[in-house]
Every structure is written in structure tokens, then in C-alpha cells.
Amino acid sequence: MSRLDAIGMAEEVRGRRVTARDLVAATLERIRARDGELNCFTAVVAEGALREAEAVDADIGAGKVVGPLAGVPFAVKNLFDVAGLTTLAGSRINAERPRAAKDATVVARLRGAGAVLVGALNMDEYAFGFTTENTHYGPTHNPHDPARVAGGSSGGSGAAVGAGLVPFALGSDTNGSIRVPAALCGIFGLKPTYGRLSRAGTALFGISFDHVGPLATSARDLAVTYDVMQGPDAADPVCAGRNGEPCLPRLADGTGGLRLAVADGHFAAGGEPEVFAAVERVAKALGVTRRVTVPEAHRARAAAMIITASEGASLHRDDLKRRPMDFDPLTRDRFLAGALVPGALYVQAQRFRAWYRERVREIFQSVDVLLTPTTPCPAPKIGQETMTLAGVTVPTRPNLGLYTQPLSFIGLPVISVPVADAGPLPLGVQLVAAPWNEAALFRVAAALEREGVVAARIAG
């Protein structure tokens, strides 16, 4: 049963071949058995989960219509509000705060669809990192090699799904924090268009780039969870007033008529050979020969760093002022540095962002989906300070976002797909579309999955 995806589990529950309670109990047992090694969870809500599962079973027994995720266990990065839990956001400081009174909007919507929350997941403090080496709560380990990072900042989410503990999880992505762990843990991850999914009830980090989204083991799970979470939300001023545009029905559409290209330039340099081989494998399967250059992507990454540091520091200014030593040593100096960024530099970064968005918009006049690597390398070792990329020694942690930052910088929707048989460790490829065109991404992801070119790799 643990090898089924979320839709498969829900079908079993609705068909009464398994009870939601048994499904959730088995999930809790898997977490108990394996999380000591992986350190994905910072909270497990066993009692509440079993109670919710029993309610699903009761509804099914009473003949009521249940949601598409009825009885399916899931978990969320611990920056999502969960009623009754303190929203840690990976920090020690937030551990002193009251418990959340209600669920984040997207958590409530998933529960409304019948999904059963089993716990909260580890992350880099305040989402400021790509490795989930959290000093307060310990590092999360990659399920494919526990000596290696799971990626971040949604590393608990990536590892929990990649280890088969839960079929899907929620993460957030400011500069790559869904896509990097999805790639390094061998699963699918969606960062939707900026403003597509509500961020209400989540701890923000970089308000210009903060997104939420699912990580899952199949394209269809990514689609169904995304569909359930879509829709306007007055509680989030950034959430668009658009009605949902369901993607699950689009999975079988195929790639016919879509204009596809591989991104070169910045996205074809600075990484290890295997990541480019992974892109070429996907491109070959799709029959893509066209190359497109995204102009000034390296400057986009630079501007993203400035805006992120500045906005993150602004959000945490009071604590930086009053109690800097309570921050994780892995984030503290970066937050303090962000607090000292001159305003003129921040504004110029935002002006560059507007310029860059227009240039990329021009590309999407003739392209529907771009292909790029997700990370420049497979998962580094935990504690690894530097790594060698294309023959150059660079700091490990910031460089995991080399190819993700220039895309979230302008809010583009991206799916990271896990390339099948990429090597000893998982690798991902980014499918990138114009704003609001998630459907094109799902069509490509599903086609690649049907061809066996991409497939989730579940460890254990």
C-alpha cells in the first residue's frame, strides 16, 4: 500500500479495500520506524490523524461523497499553520509562540478534500537555505544516501516523500526550495505561478518570491493536490483572483502543439556533466532540438539574492535586533547582512526584475515550455562547505540554487521532474512555462512519465 501514490490510495479507500484508519496507522508506523534515521518530522500528530481517518471511514460507510484525497496521509513543511501546532518555521524563536488557531488556507483545502495530516516537517530556519541542515532540529538526511543532504529549504518534505513515508507533502519555494529537494530526493515538485496558491497562514520569507506547492511521487498526484489547493483567497493579498484551472484533466493531452526548447547560456554552464546529460535525455525523448538563451540570468540570480536577503531581514528585524544569538548560526549572519543592504540596491534589483520579466515574456511568445537542469549536481554531503562544479570550487549551499533562482525571481511556474536512471543519486529537470500556464507543464511531465523517462525514485 505504501507504494501506491495518493490517487491510488484514495481509490483503495473509496473502494473499501482498505480503511483510511489502517492506511494512516501504517503511515504512522513507517514514520516511527524510519524517521529516526531521516529526521524529516518535527511533529507527528498521530492521535488527530487517526481520528480524522476514522471520520473519513465513517463518511464512506454512510455513503457520503468524499473528496479526491479521502484518507490519504500527508505532511507539511513546518512553516504552514496547522491548528493546534506551533508554526516553527525551522526556528527556535518561533517555538515560543502560541499554537496556530487554524490551518493555513492550503492545508484546510487539502483536508477538505479528505487528506489526513500526519505531521510537520523539518526545514532550513525561516526557509533561508538549500540544504535543511538545521542546527536547532538537526539535518534532514537524504533517503537515497543518509550521508547527504535532502536539499532545502523544504528538505523534510522532499525526504518524507522520497522515502515513501507519505505520498505527498507541501513545501514552499522562494528561490528553489521545492524544486531543489524534489530533485535531490528523486520526486516531482511544483512551484506554481507566483500568486496562484494562497500563502495565507504560512510564515513568509521573501515576500516578492514566496510560493507554496506540492511534492509528490507522480505527475497525477502533483496535479490533484495542486487542483485542490487552487482558487482565490482574500486572506492572502498576493493570491490572484483567478478561478482554479484544473490540471488533472490535462494530463492525457500529450505534448502535441507545444513549442519546447532547451535553455542554454546560464542554464547550460556551471554544472556537472550528468545534469546536462539528464536535460538532454528529456529533450531527446520530447524531440526537442531548439535552444533558447534566457538573457542575463546570472544577474537575475544576483538580484534575487539581494531582494531575498533584504526582505527576509526586514521580516525578522525585531528578533535580529533583540535576540540575534537565538537564530541558527547557519542563517544569522546572512540575515544580519541582509538588514544592512542599502535601499537603492534593493530598488535597483526590483527594477532589474521588471526588465528581466519583460525579456523572458518575449521568449514565451514563441516557446511554451523550457527545459533546464534543476540543480548543478546531485545531493552533496551533509556539512560539505564547498563543492567543485565544472572544475571550479564554490560554496555548496548557495550554489544549489544556481538554476532555480533566476526562474522564481519572476514567478514562473516550474515543475521539477525526476529523471529515471539518472545515476547513483537522483537528479531533476525543470519544466518552465509562462505565468499561469501550469497546464503545459503537466502535459509534458505526464508524457515523460508515461514514456518512462521520468519516474519517482522511492528509497526504502
Binding site: R299, A302, P324, R332, D333, L336, A337, G338, F352, W355
Partner: protein, 67 residues
């Protein structure tokens, strides 16, 4: 615009900036963080070199007000 990298501020200049600007912003940088803050700020200023003089034309960043 030339792609030739402009010089980033020198480390001692960054350290002096940290010492002088932090108090103006109401921040106290703990002694044990001073070096790390300066190092990270140097990275941000180096990133700034890539964009500060980039010709963005009339790029406008003000949000649209929608009552």
C-alpha cells in the same frame, strides 16, 4: 554594458560599513558575528555590482493599485 566585472568593495571597506551603518539602523552586531556578517554582506555587494549599473530603461516597479 560591459560584462567585465567591476571591482567589488574591499573587505576592510565592508567591515567599516558594518560597524558604522548597523548602529544607525538600530542593530547591534554581536562581536562573534561581525566577520560573518561582513563576509555575507560582501557577497551581496558583489551581487550588486552585477546589477547596480545595468541599464533597465524605464523599468517600473510600483505596484498597480486595485481598490
Amino acid at each position: 554594458m560591459s560584462d567585465a566585472p567591476e571591482p567589488a568593495p574591499k573587505p576592510e571597506t565592508i567591515a567599516r560599513y558594518v560597524d558604522e551603518v548597523a548602529p544607525l539602523l538600530g542593530l547591534t552586531i554581536p562581536a562573534e558575528c561581525r566577520e560573518g556578517v561582513a563576509r555575507n554582506l560582501a557577497i551581496l555587494f558583489a551581487a550588486g555590482v552585477l546589477i547596480r549599473d545595468f541599464p533597465v530603461g524605464g523599468a517600473e516597479t510600483a505596484p498597480v493599485f486595485e481598490p
